[in-house]
């Protein structure tokens, strides 16, 4: 009898542990509520977060699509503010060095005027490669030394804030004219409730799109 009681207690403990884990995995984001016509598969992100946590997500949004970005979460975590910014890139390519490199170049068969002879197709037209360039009759290859510039790209990025849920509402709807690299930051507000200090709840950053070809 005593053993049955112990076993029951253990079952109860295990059940509650499993239940607690399941509860924290619950998905609070219903795509039906967020906009049925949007496809949220692709770049949305789900994770477990505790009060005080911050998360940054970098995503790429193609031009012309209707975009919807929002955050949904375990209600115990409170309202989760988020900010969307566009990454502005500045690139500067600078010459690092110029080196002489061995380069293989084709030797073409030439006509009496010294012009390369084109390969002809069955119709007698000059044959073109996949890029639309005429292909010439190649006799072989020779190696020459050719100066080659080695470049270095200096990258600098800055941000332009596009949306802040604290002042713009909880849903960011947009459409970009050109493909954009964006960054979204959300943070879980710290909790004054001691029982929630170590609590981890689910947060979903939802990035939806409606495809528009042009």
């Amino acid at each position: 009898m005593k053993n049955i009681l112990i076993a029951t207690i253990f079952i109860t403990v295990i059940s509650s542990v499993i239940w607690a884990q399941k509860a924290s995995q619950k998905n609070y984001c219903s795509t039906e509520d967020l906009g049925k016509q949007y496809d949220f598969r692709g770049q949305s992100y789900y994770g477990s977060f505790a009060p005080g946590d911050t998360c940054r997500i970098k995503a790429i949004l193609y031009s012309n699509n209707n975009i919807r970005i929002t955050v949904c979460s375990d209600p115990k975590l409170g309202k989760i503010p988020f900010k969307v910014s566009r990454t502005i890139r500045e690139y500067k390519r600078v010459i690092e060095k110029i080196v002489n490199r061995e380069t293989e170049i084709p030797i073409y068969k030439t006509d009496k005027n010294g012009n390369p002879i084109a390969i002809r197709d069955d119709w007698g037209r000059p044959k073109k490669d996949e890029f639309g360039d005429v292909e010439f009759v190649t006799l072989g290859y020779k190696t020459i030394m050719k100066p080659d510039t080695v470049w270095r790209t200096n990258r600098k990025t800055s941000e332009e804030i596009l949306f802040d849920s604290r002042s713009n509402g909880s849903v960011f709807d947009t459409k970009f004219k050109t493909t954009e690299s964006i960054e979204i930051i959300f943070f879980v507000p710290p909790s004054s409730n001691p029982s929630l200090k170590t609590y981890k709840g689910r947060v979903g950053l939802m990035i939806g799109r409606i495809f528009n070809p042009s």
Binding site: N3, I4, I6, A7, F10, I11, V13, I14, V17, I18, Q21, D39, R41, G42, Q43, Y45, Y46, G47, S48, F49, A50, G52, D53, T54, C55, R56, I57, K58, A59, I60, L61, Y62, S63, N65, Y91, R93, E130, F131, G132, W151, T153, T178, T179, E180, S181, K200, I207, R209, F211, P213, S214
Partner: protein, 270 residues
């Protein structure tokens, strides 16, 4: 006596359950930055290949069966890394087939993916039930599109949430390079105003995220190999930043990108 053992079994179960959790969290932390920490915790995302294929389809380009990695080559990939890379490539080919409404090809590619998923231990999204759903909807293009799109999304999500970057990175790399390859194969003649060419140039943003993602991973032989290929491609894309305002891409630059993509992809599909 029989009952006496029960509590110990439960104790053991609890210990196993907790240690699994700890291991999972550690993995998550090292691969994605500290999930529960503050700054420095960046998640890098890429649009799925489907988005590029939808765009290509709308440009009224023909379906290029010969450009896909044939399913009969699926037995050629032996190592886990080769399998993961080609899982990405086949998943991308599958997406291409569903977007172009090729039912039989969709079924064939899905079957290969199901078998790879089992071997890689990522059955999420690629189980028997899904194969049955595919068969049931073989002539319903919309459903096929939804099912396959769902599967790719589920598997990527599952790998990300469980910190399995060692599998996710090659899947993303394989899937992306295949989509870029198929995009280049869809350009009949080069013209910098061709919408597909423009979209190809925009892939430099995806490339940056992919490089950042692989860079955030623990370094090993495989990640070094990915980085060397990705960086080589980035060197070519970087040349676009030298162009004047009215030149997006020159023919030479385009050629260099096409050739590099082709050679990276050829190394993977062998």
């Amino acid at each position: 006596m029989k009952f006496c053992t029960i509590p110990y079994i439960f104790c053991l179960l609890i210990i196993v359950s907790c240690s699994n959790n700890a291991e999972k969290n550690d993995e998550n932390d090292s691969l994605y930055g500290n999930t529960s920490s503050t700054s420095g915790n960046v998640k890098l995302k890429l649009p799925s290949p489907v988005e590029l294929y939808l765009f290509i389809r709308e440009a009224k380009v023909e379906f290029k069966q010969e450009a896909l990695n044939p399913t009969n080559k699926s037995g050629n990939y032996i190592t886990r890394d080769e399998k993961a890379l080609n899982f990405g490539i086949y998943a991308s080919d599958l997406a291409y087939c569903t977007v172009f409404e090729k039912q039989q090809e969709t079924h064939n590619y899905f079957k290969v993916l199901k078998s790879y998923a089992g071997e890689l231990g990522v059955t999420e999204g690629y189980d028997k039930k899904i194969i049955a759903r595919i068969d049931d909807n073989l002539y319903n293009s919309d459903s096929l599109y939804q099912i396959t799109n769902d599967s790719y999304w589920k598997v990527c999500n599952y790998l990300e949430e469980n910190g399995k970057a060692d599998i996710l990175a090659p899947i993303l790399f394989g899937g992306w390079i295949e989509s870029l390859y198929l995009a280049t194969q869809s350009v009949e003649t080069f013209d910098q105003t061709n919408p597909i060419v423009i979209r190809i140039t925009e892939q430099r943003y995806l490339l940056e995220n992919l490089i950042e993602y692989v860079n955030s991973m623990k370094k090993n032989k495989e990640t070094e190999m990915y980085l060397s290929k990705l960086n080589a491609l980035q060197d070519i894309f970087d040349q676009l930043y030298n162009n004047s305002n009215n030149t997006l891409i020159t023919k030479e630059q385009y050629k260099a990108i096409v050739q590099k993509v082709k050679s990276i992809r050829a190394d993977f599909v062998k």
